[in-house]
Symmetry: D2
Subunit: 333 residues, 4 copies
């Protein structure tokens, strides 16, 4: 059986997923939609498929699944539309910036018994999978602490910041998902501190560019997250998990592993400087997992619920920063 | 000129300082006091000096400086006594567990114009000095974030926990001092989360063994500290400082630098498992700095004020944990 | 323009190249030949193309280039056949195990003005390219020494050893090519020592499994190569180049970059344990380079001459081991 | 019991040993001799002892052991003198540059039943000891290959080169000793290549500055040594031992373990740039071992025989370079 895909949104992440679909022997890219026909056509030239409108895709018999890669503010509407249309849905994170809207959307997913997978790609990074496997194998014992350092190479432009939902819903949300993924226990409480150290314009837009967050579970496990919108040395993505028997850490990634030694010292190249090169294997892995799940008739994961939970932690984090206190996730969900 | 020292307290840290004094050509160990004469005599057998009472030392003409290595609850009294006696004073941290008592004590130091250095030895660790030098040289630009991971190899016994003042005043206090040392700006606000994951007995005594702390300065710089009383892999002491132009990190230390590769992977030995071996150079360095300061007639550093500040942050941290809110250091000082 | 390819030999390396061709937008896999039709058909099922005989491919109008992935003893004949047929030729190393046969073959290539690229894939490894780029950029000054450590995860079976041409023509030949690639100067003299430490059966077949080789150029530059047919910790592939201003080293590669710390130490996973996973990017890169050269009408590189030179060094190395003396490459070529 | 030492030669290595003796509770520095009384007096000012002539020391009742730190060409004479005088002898390497002279000298040592330890300090480096311990513990199985990379930060001045005995007797001799120490089997054959790449003046003096050596044992174990008189990045001292079950490697050492990450990459400081700082622990360790051996009435190690063997390998290496062939150590001893 070959799964027939439609891609909604032919932007840069759409390109990544189109590639993953066409390279997968179990899948086929049938249709591509984009508000700009030119953009869709350009992608089609490389990866095949035909240009269609979203409505045509929803009505089509020859489409089994859709990949929603359109702007965030269209995600929830599209999920609902394609849930009603009976298509399996992969949606880029986040489902929506509003918890209420996400709740409504997930209700539709549930009522229509639709398949929904949310694009927390990092769960499919080989290094983080190895980390999770190490935990599962019991090598570090009972988890006590997680430390995530997650820094972007540079701050996005103001136009992006404006529609991003803020650092916690846009950037830290990946770390919140990783925390949940690794901890195996829900986050109960959030404490956070945030400031504007990188770009005053970010502050002018009411957002932050530097933050530290402490997440706590009911059993007292803790996860500390450190974020910055700037790292001159590349895309800094480290996770370490400390347990009763030991620790496991996933190291940073760079394009090539060379070291140059001179009178000035021993120098290795900077890190990957773009999330798409850093997480190239993760993007391919998540689409492969989506296809495998569909092919095996299994629930897709991460689920809509996972999307909701991470969003709620982000909301609670913002509340903690604003109110200077520990906030329970249950206050916002 | 040779500085003549008396050592008060001949326990394990007293031994370390006795060694540092005897190996320093500018210093001489003249007298040793200890509640247990036997303990003092044993130290004297190796490092020289004669056994005297504390009163005799305070009254002696042939003593220029004292090293206070007695139990914490005697520190403030001894500082006051030797401040009045006109001796230069090196005192192991903390001055006292009570901010009020420290304030009183520092008043005496000020009135008597005494020289007081507090034993935050880590400021003299060669790796942390290199880190500070890198910052000072401007290589990482303006500091934005500090991340300290500080884990003990194992929890101390309950008897120690009881008199320790709790994890923040006993263990994290070193990290608070490093944060101040590196940030170059006072801590304004503290948020913290703490739990008991390692040893329930620690919880039964009202203390914690696992904690995360976020410190914030007036300008929005942040320092995240992660502590655990247990690390199977050794004494985990990492600091990284992230700035506008880059980052500098001090790596963990181990006794030997070998790596064994087998079918099971590439393995390096665990870290140092004891603070005295890990910080052996730092201990020697701090006594050398004390002597150099005295010899040069310069103020000793870290000062009593440094001791007070770190203690106040510890107090604010505990308050933050207990009250689940951001606490200003000014609330407790 | 799309280049039309025929693949000769559908074994494991044929699969790797078929994938590279089909994923390249400038190339198309048109035909596949293999002594076993079943094997060819299985590859065709995944990557397309049609099954043809070698003669049919040589006679075909719709084939621009061939990829020779058949057994070594057929390489020279096939190169000559397709040189006469006017096809561009990519041939897996080695051209032949006999220098005389290679010389004859290259004469045909020259007379027919054929395009020939030899599959020294490591020149296309991203890490080794970065190493070469560092040298070219002048960062390490004038090259003085190269150290190559190259160890296989395990010895091949006796059947393979028998037809391999021996360790120097089969395994070290890659290192000889890298030495030439990096040194930018021909090898003049070889000294080598070899023994049987891994598997006595290898010795029984007249081959070695452990060897050290010293290559010297006319200007006195040296390259030391260390080989073993066994490394429990994976496929050990390190190169370092030392020059007047510094050194550059390419590190080993592993599948995932995690580190597990326990009471037993800090452990990273073993290395890749297979040349095809270790050099996956190199294989893709060499086919891309072949296509790019053809598309741009440029000479393909590494050339037949490169194949000959590496083989001659291998021959000289064996002579050095057998005669216990420094052997000039000019003695064998 | 306290061992009473005389130091012969108060140069820089004499200072190192004087410090080791004075810090050792089982030893006491009683006398110091030096051709320049001033030099001796300066050392005495720091470490104590009294100035005496060599003859006075040989005749003295209050001296148990001597440390020979004088120029190489005096070593053999002094060993013989003090062997006859009944003193225990520690002598810096080499005993002499002539194998014949060493043989004669060792005959005297044997006839007088004198205690002689030769200063191959690297055997006492904590990292190399850990490496040896790993081998002894069986963790890497049966040894097959050793790779030593040993590079000096910079070439010594011509005056030194002239009296050094050449690179193999001066520099590589340490690596030869390490090879013997680690292999646990005598070296049978040597092949080597050497050139002048660093400093033409070294060539003008008939010496080399860049060399590769392959040592082979009777059972076929091999050791590859790579030497250069120049390494801009510091004192490069790496050893790895490869065996049937795995590998163990001793890493390079630097003064501080920090890493600075900027847009230019991740940079660690250069290595130690001086043998005395790099091997500070080794120097202290060898004197401690000498004292412990004497105190325990055990034979001192490395022995005179060890000194002779390493010298013979050096001689064979030079012969191999000159004659372009594999040379048996038995040809020169």
């Amino acid at each position: 059986m070959t799964l027939r895909f439609a891609l909604l949104g032919a932007g840069r992440i759409g390109l990544v997923h189109a590639k993953a679909v066409t390279e997968n022997p179990q899948a086929k890219l049938v249709a591509v939609a984009d508000a700009f026909e030119e953009t869709a056509k350009s992608l089609i030239a490389t990866y095949g498929g035909e240009f269609r409108t979203i409505d045509a895709i929803a009505a089509a018999d020859d489409i089994d699944a859709v990949l929603i890669c359109t702007p965030t503010n269209t995600h929830a509407d599209l999920i609902e539309k394609f849930a009603h249309a009976g298509k399996a849905i992969f949606c880029e994170k986040p489902i929506d910036l509003s918890i209420e809207r996400v709740n409504d959307c997930l209700k539709v997913v549930q009522e229509t018994n639709a398949t929904l997978m949310v694009g927390f790609n990092r769960r499919f990074d080989p290094h983080f999978i190895a980390l999770k496997d190490t935990i599962t194998a019991g090598k570090i014992g009972k988890i006590e602490m997680i430390n995530i350092i997650s820094r972007d190479p540079g701050a996005p432009p103001p136009e992006y910041i404006k529609v991003s939902g803020g650092i916690f819903k846009d950037m830290t949300i990946h770390d919140f998902d990783m925390a949940r993924f690794l901890l195996g226990e829900e986050i109960e409480t959030v404490m956070a501190s945030a400031s504007v150290l990188v770009d005053p314009e970010i502050g002018a837009l009411g957002d932050f560019d530097s933050a530290n967050v402490i997440l706590t579970t009911a059993s007292g496990k803790q996860c500390a997250i450190s974020n910055s919108r700037r790292a001159t040395y590349g895309y800094d993505q480290r996770i370490e998990v400390h347990g009763s028997l030991g620790m496991v850490a996933a190291e940073n990634q760079r394009e090539v592993s060379i070291e140059v030694a001179t009178a000035g010292g021993y120098t290795r190249p900077p890190l990957y400087d773009f999330f798409m090169t850093r997480y190239i294997a993760a993007y391919a892995g998540e689409i492969a997992a989506f296809i495998a799940n569909l092919a095996g008739d299994m629930p897709a994961s991460p689920s809509g619920e996972d999307g909701l939970r991470a969003l709620a932690i982000a909301q609670a984090t913002l509340k903690s920063v604003n109110e200077g206190r520990a906030v329970k996730v249950s206050e916002v969900i």
